[in-house]
Symmetry: C2
Subunit: 195 residues, 2 copies
């Protein structure tokens, strides 16, 4: 019977890793720490994962899939109004991050210094920008958006705003009424893009 615990142990390790990474950060959280929290030995850790980075990448992969699933279900819900989609998508994209965003950011920083890791982990995020750019293009074609809007740039602005909002919101949770700021930012964005 203990033989069958394999998957369970792996799950425990992943779960413990999330918590420790979220609390201490990717670098500060030691493998020993994670093992202690998972209640297993270091041997078990290295039996399931080849390295510390591998656990993080496994977690990251899971979040990316969650986000993609959210994006897909949103696409299938087929709300015709592009702006409504936009405003609903921004929270959805970051809902899978929440308190885990700081560790993701920490990893982002390290990845930005290592091109191989960057390409393998962060670069895939770029397709969200393409999605927003398409929404903007549709809006222009429909005539609901200002015709001189650059879709690529606008998409970048939307994503930048989202990143900035959540970055400040997560790292400075007591600094502002983020609910209100979120609504206000959407209002400004929509006013600025609408024809």
């Amino acid at each position: 019977m203990p033989q069958q615990r394999s998957e369970e142990t792996r799950a425990h390790l992943l779960d413990a890793a999330v918590r420790r990474f979220a609390i201490s950060g990717y670098n500060a959280a030691s493998v020993d720490e994670i093992c202690a929290e998972a209640g297993v030995s270091k041997g078990a850790f290295y039996h399931h994962f080849p390295s510390k980075q591998a656990v993080f990448l496994a977690l990251l992969d899971g979040w990316l899939k969650t986000i993609d699933a959210g994006l897909e279900s949103m696409r299938q819900a087929s709300v015709p109004e592009t702006f409504v989609e936009m405003t609903r998508l921004l929270p959805a994209i970051f809902a899978a991050a929440d308190e885990r965003l700081p560790m993701f950011l920490e990893f982002w920083l390290q990845a930005s210094r290592d091109e191989k890791i960057w390409e393998a982990t962060i670069a895939p995020y770029r397709h969200y920008q393409e999605y927003f750019a398409r929404l903007v293009s549709n809006g222009i074609a429909e005539g609901s958006l200002k015709p001189d809007t650059d879709p690529q740039a606008a998409a970048q602005v939307i994503l930048s705003l989202a990143v900035g909002l959540f970055l400040q919101g997560v790292l400075d949770p007591h600094g502002a009424d983020w609910q209100k700021v979120g609504e206000e930012s959407m209002k400004i964005l929509m006013n600025g893009l609408a024809k």
Copy 2:
């Protein structure tokens, strides 16, 4: 006349620290590394600074002063148009950061986990938000801005956009035409806020 080359050595250490922090990051850059780049010994380092963190705080302090100076000179230039001030201020605020932003972010992440460090280092940034909020309030009073705009929230949006833009621009320098994105974001922002 100060004894020996004390001030010069200190300057060399600060200069070396900036470069190493920018290249390797705050944590990864070791004190030995910084000393080697500065061409002095570890003893010299700990003669001038009580700790590794102290060097970083000294650098941070310098940047904050640079930013404040830029803000002040901008205020004295007394451009009456609030929006013009705004669009000019955003680059000014981050001009002093540029390639040093990643290490600042790394420190930000660590500070967010330690309230004392946070209050001493990051919290003072909040006064920029007050400044933007005042600009928005003025705009509403003048009648050039939508009257239902929440100044605090709008200021937060402006700062969030700036943070998001520069974060993406610095960390993903090849990802977009950041000049164009910057202009586009200002256009959208101004359109969204103007009455």
